[in-house]
Amino acid sequence: MKSEQELEGFYNSKLLPDLEALEVERKAIAKRFWMLLLLFFVLAGAGAAFAGLWEMFEVAIGCGIAAVVMLVVMLIMHHSKKGKFVHKFKNVIVNDIVKFVGPELNYHPKDGINIGAYMQSTIYPRRPDRYVTEDLVTGMYGDTHLAFSEVHSQYKTTTVNHKGQTRTTWHTIFDGVFFIADFNKHFKGRTVVLPDTMEKMFGRLGKFFQKMNFSRPPLVKLEDPEFEKHFAVYGDDQVETRYILSTSLMQRIVDFRSKTSSGVALSFVGSHVYVAIPITKNLFEPNLFKTNINFNLIKEYYYYLWLAIGIVEDLNLNTRIWTKE
């Protein structure tokens, strides 16, 4: 991890000129938005005046229609301008921060982890009905190949009420950063590390329910009491699961959980490690009505990027003393 001084130096020398250029564009978009909004209120006010004061209803209706049409056009234009600005901002600023963290990493704001890889992890076995992903970072960090992006997966339920009306409700399966990296050891089976909600709520009875969970591989009981308190581990092969989850890795996972979120889940499948970090915030979005020339904003982007890229160091993935290079 880079120090705050390094980040500040980078901010002043590299990001500031770009941020200033983008600020001009941002101001223009915001200004146009406010101008059009003002025009809308003038038209609407005029309509109201014609109708209320002078009882000229034809003119009033004309003003009303013009105001509504303007509002629609304004919103469409604003949306497209905003999209272009956000894309440009991400391509310049976020891309630079990604390169600052890892020169061999690439940033693709419109791409994401595909649903195939997400399902392959088996962390969330339920197939989502809606899957949205953006802000993909991919490439090499040290000796480790990694990829991560924002992912929001949902499933829907439809209920029919007594009047025969159907209602669709969307439920979030996962919302946050989904991370995949090449693991430094070879393995064949599946190992899934999930937050231990059952045991926390129901104690020993929870353990019983975990054992009865047939949608998962068998439960593996590990020795580290702190790790066991936070996580439930399922694995195809008892020895292989312990080979992957060495005592030091268990400690590292506990530390990682304490610095991120209690909902962190991991899996080890097909020679890869998958990490799901729930974060409800939409990341790397610039402000439109507030200045982006703000070191704290950049610090926040850096923090979230490092949270994911830093997994390589948190889980010691660059150490390649085993047969896998």
Binding site: K185, H186, K221, L222, E223, Q238, V239, E240, T241, R242, Y243, S246, T247, I321, W322, T323
Partner: protein
């Protein structure tokens, strides 16, 4: 309900409980054996690597010939097959210690350290060591579960009747806990 039916139900429940607990105990006992077998497999992997290690280092290590002969001897002893589990564990500890010594001695031979074949071998050995440690942990968990069942009520009653007793967990041997003293290893 007649007393006879009630007695019948009680006896039925007791028998059912007996069967469930007994099967649970047997399951745990077999898990322990299974875990021991997995250690055995990993140890065999390591035995297979010993000749490679010896041939890789012997041209370089001119001063440590004795240690190399010794480890080869240990290997043939282990491969002979007719050893009890305790003997196996003891021999395994000796091999661990000697191999640790060889790996430390490698530090004195820069040519060997940078030899690609040797680096590959070192990686494989690391992996095998990690797997051995994983299977030992599996064994210890299995033994702990078995011991809990043997000592806790009510399964302890059935365990007592069937003559099942506590099993020992794998302890990290004293020699492994100490730092390896390379000098001593080669002077002996």
């Amino acid at each position: 309900m007649s007393p006879l039916v009630i007695t019948g139900i009680i006896i039925g429940v007791v028998i059912l409980l007996f069967i469930l607990i007994y099967n649970g105990l047997i399951g745990k006992k077999n898990q322990v054996e299974n875990a021991f077998a997995s250690i055995d497999t990993m140890l065999k992997k390591r035995y297979d690597l010993i000749p490679n290690l010896v041939s890789a280092v012997k041209t370089y290590m001119t001063h440590e010939k004795e240690v190399l002969t010794q480890i080869t001897a240990y290997r043939s002893q282990a491969m002979s097959g007719n050893l009890s589990s305790e003997e196996k564990v003891e021999l395994d500890n000796k091999i661990t210690k000697t191999m640790g010594g060889i790996m430390v001695a490698v530090e004195n031979y820069p040519d060997l350290k940078s030899n690609t074949n040797f680096i590959q071998l070192q990686r494989t050995l690391n992996e095998v060591e990690e797997q051995i440690s994983a299977s030992r942990r599996f064994y210890n968990t299995a033994v702990t579960e078995y011991n809990n069942a043997v000592e806790m009520f009510p399964s302890s009653i059935i365990a007592g009747m069937k003559g099942m007793t506590r099993k020992k967990v794998f302890e990290i041997p004293e020699v492994e806990r100490e730092n390896v003293k390379v000098g001593d290893l080669f002077n002996s």
